[in-house]
């Protein structure tokens, strides 16, 4: 436990706590919207976004990576929503076409940049290298997500449960859907440093998915997801030191194992409960 006295380790734990909680909270929306696959698509879009950021600014900095990832994810995410508005193309279809195209562009640009080594860090993250600026970014994005989600909880829930009814009641459904997408992208960006763009999907889906096996109450889904996400992330960081593994993968594997356990042992919706019925 002498690791705890190192500032980098303290920062890593703080980042795990903040990112784990806010992403875990948000994972409730991902589970309710049933768009876990589009989260995966979006997270992969961040890679070409980062590459594009380097291409435009000429270097890999925090800012260029963030702006590039945000821009690419927004373009792909909002683009797919816009295309799907025509009713002819399902959003999943639109998303798949657009994100693979964006990913292809990223792959094409990558060899032309000589920062590939550092890009790998963005793919899988490095929570031990979190700086104070990263912490503040994570804290800011996490607070914003929690604030907006809680202020708009009722319209958000009605929109996800019955979009038609919500629209008739005067809820600006389209605005709410774009807002959810924007918050999702922000959450992905916030978790870049900790687990990278590929593994961030786990933190944005697994906690909510696990809790949804254990409760039928929506508030419990969000707050429980937050607590589980925070516990999983902090636990992952602590475990990784013991196991001698990279923290990012350990966090995601831990969350995945907890999901598996809930899927098997959930008293109401678990595998074993299903056999007993």
């Amino acid at each position: 436990m002498e690791l705890l006295i190192h500032p980098f380790y303290q920062r890593a734990l703080a980042a795990a706590l903040i990112i784990g909680f806010s992403n875990g909270f948000f994972s409730g929306f991902v589970v309710l919207r049933r768009n876990a696959l589009s989260v995966s698509a979006l997270s992969h879009t961040m890679l070409p976004g980062i590459a594009a950021g380097i291409l435009v600014t000429g270097m890999l900095t925090q800012a260029s990576a963030f702006v590039g990832a945000l821009f690419a994810a927004l373009m792909v995410g909002l683009g797919s929503v816009a295309v799907a508005r025509g009713n002819r193309i399902a959003q999943g279809t639109a998303l798949a076409v657009i994100y693979t195209t964006a990913f292809a562009a990223g792959v094409a640009i990558l060899p032309r940049l000589d920062t590939r080594q550092e890009l790998e860090h963005w793919l899988f993250g490095d929570i031990m290298a979190v700086g104070n600026a990263d912490l503040w970014i994570a804290f800011g994005i996490g607070s914003l997500t929690l604030l907006v989600a809680n202020l708009l909880m009722r319209p958000l829930l009605v929109t996800m449960f019955e979009p038609n009814v919500a629209a008739a009641q005067g809820v600006p459904v389209r605005f709410i859907q774009y807002l959810l997408f924007a918050l999702l992208v922000l959450s992905l960006v916030a978790s870049l440093q900790a687990v990278g763009c590929v593994l961030s999907v786990g933190m944005l889906v697994a906690p909510g998915a696990t809790i949804s096996l254990l409760t039928d109450k929506t508030p419990a889904l969000f707050w429980g997801g937050g607590l589980l996400g925070a516990a999983g992330a902090v636990g992952g960081v602590l475990l990784s030191a013991t196991l001698g593994l990279a923290p990012g993968p350990v966090i995601v594997m831990l969350l995945g194992s907890l999901f598996l356990a809930a899927w098997i042992f959930s008293p109401r919706y678990g595998l074993i409960a299903g056999w007993k019925k």
């Binding site: 309710l32 202020l151 009722r154 449960f161 038609n164 009814v165 008739a168 005067g170 039928d216 889904l221």
Partner: protein
């Protein structure tokens, strides 16, 4: 809840009218409803009858404000309904509901109070009382903590009706409420709708079972993109009228069934 205490008709001594005048709804380039007019008042149960694709669901959604109107007007209690009225409650078709949504019966009924509480407002004692009363009225107190998928078909209908009551809606718009219910549940729902109408609510429901319609409803609207007759259910649902509506269905009018895609897998 007794007749005297209901704040709709019993208090005012006159009947609240719902007047639909030359309603027109288009989806893209298709005219779904054209020149649909009828007038009814609370205390009635109105059946919307017509072949598949006649626009029954669309008419309900148009009244509820779920689909935009391209023409015509809807007046309730003498004032034009612009987009949506808190006094209208729409109950979706069963297959349109996401039954695995993590929400309990009580949570669903509480959603009925959102129009009153607004986006941020606290849940007042008045809101809590309305939720309790709605749960008690529809005999759902024991089921309040159940997730909505764990209910039988009849209970699911009652849960959505309870939400409408919590909303203090006077006009209940039900899309095929009897579909998928067994005989007992069907009879219970029939009795319940009769009670709700007697208390002064107006019930408008799409209904496809022609045989039970005169028993379950007071009035009927024959619909096939346009209104083809409106009046007392027993009269309007005559053999001759029904033959006129259903008999003239041509193959071209029916929606083609989706074709299965052959795959080598």
């Amino acid at each position: 809840m007794s007749d005297e205490h209901h704040d709709c008709c019993a208090h005012h001594g006159h009947h609240h009218e719902l007047v639909i005048d030359s309603l027109r709804v288009c989806y893209r380039n298709t005219v779904a409803l054209d020149d649909v007019s009828f007038a009814t008042s609370c205390g009635n149960r109105v059946a919307l009858v017509g072949p598949n694709g006649a626009g029954k669901s669309t008419l309900l959604k148009a009244i509820a404000g779920l689909v935009p109107r391209n023409g015509g007007s809807i007046r309730w209690r003498g004032t034009a309904v612009k987009r949506w009225s808190r006094e209208f409650a729409y109950l979706p078709q069963r297959e349109e509901v996401d039954w695995s949504f993590p929400i309990t019966v009580q949570g669903l009924v509480e959603m009925g109070r959102y129009p009153q509480t607004g986006w941020w407002g606290r849940f007042s004692t008045r809101d809590a009382t309305a939720v309790e009363a709605a749960l008690a009225d529809l005999d759902l107190l024991d089921l309040r903590h159940r997730q909505i998928r764990e209910l039988s078909g009849g209970q699911q209908q009652r849960a959505f009706l309870a939400r409408a009551l919590a909303q203090e809606a006077h006009v209940l718009l039900l899309d095929e409420p009897f579909t998928g219910l067994d005989r007992n549940a069907s009879r219970q729902l029939g009795d319940l709708l009769e009670k709700l109408a007697r208390e002064g609510r107006l019930i408008v429901a799409s209904h496809h079972d022609l045989e039970s319609a005169p028993r379950l409803f007071d009035e009927a609207l024959l619909l096939k993109s346009r209104s083809h007759g409106f009046g007392a259910a027993s009269e309007i649902l005559s053999e001759r009228n029904l033959a006129r509506i259903f008999g003239q269905v041509q193959d071209a009018d029916e929606r083609p069934a989706p074709r299965a895609i052959a795959t080598p897998l």
